[in-house]
Subunit: 572 residues, 2 copies
């Protein structure tokens, strides 16, 4: 029994760690061991086939959530990340102003993996190249001042790319050199020090009024949730803490938010968007919508106002750039290697497998799911549904196939929800609204013709990444079982079933803290909530979502500390 | 009355802020104002003489303690420091290992001065030159990337130099480039990150066993309290936290403490010194006494063993240099300007006035008090005591002068304590131990001949600096009053009394935490205490000595957090 190794199997290795898994194959090994003990007994290592090697790149939301869910005793797991910690990134804007300490939102990866079943190895290094042909990744440590080569390679059977993305500067000149970003903890810490620097420099006796104004002009580029939250945090920090310590300059501090679209928070419900704009207006934050940054120098930022074509430069003390994400260089190289050179982002299928390279999985910000369109498979689906090959589907035949269709093409469910269709058969109504009892292929096509409009690109959020990590971990945990007993929907373009259900994203809502103890939220079921109570909801959700009890306690105590003592303004 | 301005006076400015000070001159101004209101009334500014300008350099223990004690409504106070915060430096070794967070031990200077009576201006800048002739200091801001000149000068009437000192490398080659220091918060933060780097690099798969050992060899140079505490903290950090996260390298971590003297903690009682050596021995910390570092490269440290003359080089991952302090460049320039070029350290008198430059005061690590020797003034003292000019002192005449002598020459009191002489007249006993009733000048000299052996250079500790700051603030607060009614001892080399009592240091004891929740302490009255209970004493003393309630709460919560969750090991 021990030798019955399957392609994705790990039965034998499972059975060797009897205590750690169920007994569905354990008995065989015990029997085998007893048999051997009478005669010459080989070492266990000799008979145990090696575990499959899983290499995980990245320890952000996707990677960490994968590691937290994975039964690491089933695989030989190695993790590579340039940072040895997981950061609770939604709190980064809070870190920029000292509302929360940097250390309170990070959890060492080694702490996380220590608690997992099975051994997980972690290497603090950057992936520099994926060799998909030889199934190898090449890594390099960023710690250069110590002895020993920091370059090494790892072999994998499965590679999980969860490396995230980098800042997108849209090739705007001067952005890389002169802007601050909000991608990771170091970024937030730099902003914090720099804000204090701006104030300390502005109050010096040797400066002119104009120089003071320049140094205290804070510019935020990007009106998405991160940029808006940073602007709001900064406004609170200035109003509640800094002007008390720097009273001489309190009237010349200015915050400008530049957004290329017509509204800030434009991925949110428009009630939230206009609430935010009104609040910022009252707070004195200058929101410049419809403006594109064309250049940033160390002293000035140049903006093109789209409506008028006017180009103007204004001096600044600090520019925070928060406009979107771009593919990491090593992921871009990998895309070229596997024939995805034309894509903007690494594409994966609904099972998070990288297209063109099936032992590689991609999740989080570094990839996008290419959801298959139902219209591409419509004839195959019809054929599968038409059991008697009559060329006509009865309602029963239609119903018989739609369960699998809904699983395989999540856009169908979204469409039904959107159209408030409680009963599937409503799809079969003709243009006059009369229920049809039978349809041919044309009628079938017509019934499903609008469904693909609900195919959506998932946003690059922590929520998506975390759900993907969790999903993939579950797949890895039952890979063996699901090979024998596939849990996925039936295949329409081939025989049998898919091994797993495809990944399906559940949107739990979205927050936008707006400062002054107010927040806006989009909640499930198209609820919208705004104001002080929403800020308290925000506190409780963010506290509950912390990765460990340690960070939960730290974050809550940081919030408490801020209420009692205010934010710290020392340049540490 | 308003026009009766004295050299050090501030009566009028005091009287203008009636609510803020006593009424000893307030009445006059009120009367004057009423008189003026009938006729043409000049503006208050026109008749108020300007307040004396006080410039304070530095916001360490001495500067902050001075600012906390000063009645700032009496002066026009400006503070210049390259750091906008006060740091509780005795906890720096704890910051290196994350036992306490950097931010928990710092308090923004602006928070401190905001709470003071009167306005204090603060500039975050470095002093680059003191112009003692024109009573000016030249300053430069370290923030270079923002617009406006960071260079400015300030005029002073009184200058308080509390700028501290820099690390003393004893010109050992490579120390500046390759060692870490423990002078300020940034230093401690760098060490923290570097320790984690050493572990992360050491566990990488590409390293040889020897390279791993090199990277995990931590060297501490200097066996004083700071070096010893750091070695102990690091040992605890490794043992309690890091080896759990990096189990593969737990047996190859090594800590070496290099001390040039024969014992570590050699300024402490020898019971403490040997207790520490024994504890370190048990802990596996390699203490190399009698060894001098002759060179440090990025990979190796070269040590000369004094007893054998042997010179050997060992590879290291990190060297922390903690051997003593040296004068800052701008203080050295100032010393040359005022004729102190030959001194090793800036010399002040017992009233903290810089010798050769009386409007400048120096306190803390940047200066040393040149205590006047009693034997230099012995004839003058005799003359002053010998009221009837008889050339003979009676016991009464002797007693009559000794009160002032004890105040003026603190070494007398130390000597009496050391010799356990409860009664002053015991000094008059002859060599056979017989009490003399009268003495001549030779007998007087003989009686006091050993007193100057108790002249001691004060150690460069927080305790000394804080007491000096407090003392000087008190002098500044009553400068005016004490000019009319001097509170100091009588002058022996001139008429009248000294304006103030000289500074006198009270030693409240000294701690040396040794790791494993054990500490050693020298307490007042030559008590020595060692072990776990002393560590708890250490916790309570350090908590109580915090500069603000905010830092007190933070430090205590850091300690609590460490007990519950351990130290954080993320590279943030």
């Amino acid at each position: 029994m021990c030798l019955s190794i399957k392609f994705l199997g790990n039965k034998v290795s499972v059975s060797l760690s009897l205590s750690s898994l169920g007994n569905y194959s354990g008995g065989g090994v015990v029997a085998y061991s007893e048999l051997q003990s009478e005669t010459q007994r080989p070492t266990i290592d000799a008979i145990a086939p090696p575990k499959k090697k899983v290499v995980v790149l990245g320890t952000g939301w996707a990677g960490t959530s994968f590691l937290k869910g994975l039964d690491a005793s089933l695989y030989d797991v190695q993790v590579v990340s340039p940072r040895n910690y997981f950061a609770f990134t939604p709190l980064l804007p809070s870190v920029t102003c000292g509302t929360v300490e940097a250390r309170s939102i990070v959890e060492p990866v080694r702490n996380i993996i220590k608690k997992r079943k099975g051994e997980i190895k972690f290497w603090e290094a950057e992936c520099v190249k994926i060799d998909a042909v030889n199934k190898k990744v090449f890594c390099r440590s960023n710690i250069e001042h110590l002895v020993g080569s920091g370059e090494f390679s790892l072999e994998y059977d499965f590679l999980v790319v969860a490396a995230g993305a980098q800042v997108n500067t849209f090739n705007t000149p001067g952005v890389k050199e002169n802007c601050y970003f909000l991608k990771d903890v170091e970024d937030a810490q730099k902003i914090r020090l720099s804000v204090i620097d701006c104030f300390e420099k502005a109050v010096l006796p040797s400066l002119s009024e104009e120089e003071r104004r320049s140094n205290l002009h804070f510019v935020v580029v990007g009106g998405g949730p991160t940029g808006v939250e940073f602007a709001a945090e900064l406004h609170d920090y200035v109003l509640e803490d800094l002007i008390k310590l720097y009273p001489t300059v309190k009237d010349i501090v200015k915050i400008t938010l530049i957004q290329s679209g017509d509204h800030i928070l434009n991925t949110f419900d428009e009630r939230i968007s206009s609430f935010a704009e009104q609040k910022f207006g009252r707070d004195g934050i200058d929101v410049q919508t419809g403006s594109r940054v064309v250049k940033v120098s160390d002293k000035e930022i140049t903006v093109n106002v789209k409506s008028t074509g006017e180009v103007c430069s204004v001096p600044h003390g600090l520019v925070v750039w928060s406009t979107g994400i771009a593919t990491l260089p090593f992921v871009r190289d990998f895309m070229e290697e596997i024939g995805q050179a034309k894509n903007r982002v690494l594409a994966a299928d609904e099972w998070l497998r990288v297209k063109g390279c099936e032992s590689v999985y991609a999740l989080g910000d570094c990839c996008t799911i290419n959801q298959r369109k139902i219209m591409d498979d419509i004839s195959d689906i019809f054929k599968a549904a038409d059991k008697n090959n009559s060329g006509i589907l009865t309602i029963e035949e239609f119903k018989g196939v739609m369960g699998d269709v809904i699983l395989r093409y999540p856009q169908v469910e979204l469409y039904l929800k959107k159209e408030h269709l409680l009963d599937l058969t409503n799809l079969l109504k003709d243009s006059q609204g009369n229920q049809r009892k039978e349809i041919d292929i044309e009628g079938f096509k017509q019934a499903l013709s609008n469904v693909d409009s609900q195919v959506k690109v998932l946003p690059a959020t922590a929520q998506v990444a975390a759900q993907q990590g969790e999903y993939l971990a579950r797949c890895f945990n039952c890979m063996d079982k699901c090979e024998d007993h596939p849990e996925g929907p039936r295949r329409f373009r081939g025989p049998g079933h898919h091994q797993f259900r495809p990944f399906q994203y559940k949107h739990f809502g979205q927050f936008a803290p707006l400062g002054g103890e107010q927040a806006a939220a989009e909640l499930p079921g198209d609820w919208v909530s705004m104001g002080h109570s929403t800020q308290w909801l925000w506190y409780s959700v963010y506290a509950s979502k912390q990765v460990s009890w340690r960070t939960r306690v730290l974050v809550i105590s940081d919030w408490t500390r801020r209420f009692i003592f205010g934010r710290d303004s020392s340049g540490v």
